[in-house]
Symmetry: C2
Subunit: 126 residues, 2 copies
DNA sequence: AGTGGGTACTTACGAAAGGTTAGCGCTCTC
DNA sequence: GAGAGCGCTAACCTTTCGTAAGTACCCACT
């Protein structure tokens, strides 16, 4: 069999580095941070207000992970009070636009999912 | 302000049900299960072999969640040995194709991410 | 002068999620 | 008749996550 048929990097393999990358992109807060930054750059506290429910700890952790992976740029300005801007890189924008589309799809289809859940639960209780 | 401008269902709101739906779709194993089922229906054990590294417990849990959300159909045939087929619904296919695209994108870009990590780590150590 | 608020984080601890191992009832193969 | 395969389920333990507080600095208000 040809090697070119199967990609050497596959998300299906447990030890493949692509698995970890996908987990960062699809992480609980990673998705929402990326989706928010599609619109425009944000400051730390702005982002915290925009992404409802995220703690400062988890936001900082998520931003560090995504920055390290090359998805976003951190621009810390040496002013008082501190000001740090976060924006997408080219790589980050490619990922962000996909998760943003997924988030929008989810919003549109949430009612259908809720109906499916109600049907599922009723079929079990009766 | 008009209600129609902002969707009543937004992933940005902490208590919105769409948040939960998105978390199911983007969950660690949910992504991989959906991506696998894009190709064709799978049996339980087939899926377990296809999605490398998933435990039986987590696979069963993930499948139940996705079934309840209306993303996939569970077809348990009353034969010995037990045979259970899982396939995508229409709703599930819409979601699955998006996460599949994201998974493929990740595989293609993993090398870039690894390069970014190396650059990030070096900038810190030196 | 002192109090409260805003900035971007970090640290410590309890709670929740996730993972590992084992078992179950049944059948077909060796 | 011993072992493997099937699709789960229950107990247990570890890793992750969220919550609350602390840090250091400055401005506005009282």
């Amino acid at each position: 069999m040809k090697v070119s048929e199967q990609p050497s990097v596959s998300v299906k393999a447990p030890m493949c580095p692509s698995r970890g990358v996908l987990e960062h992109v699809t992480s609980r807060w990673g998705v929402l941070v990326l989706a928010a930054l599609v619109e425009r750059p944000y400051r730390f506290s702005e982002l915290r207000r925009e992404v409802g429910g995220v703690s400062e700890k988890m936001l900082a952790q998520t931003l560090q992970t995504l920055e390290r992976d090359g998805f976003l740029l951190r621009d810390a300005k040496p002013v008082i009070p501190p000001r740090v801007d976060y924006s997408l890189t080219g790589l980050g924008r490619e990922a962000a636009e996909q998760v943003w589309a997924l988030a929008r799809w989810t919003e549109r289809r949430t009612a259908d999912v809720q109906a499916a859940r109600a049907a599922y639960d009723e079929a079990r209780s009766s």
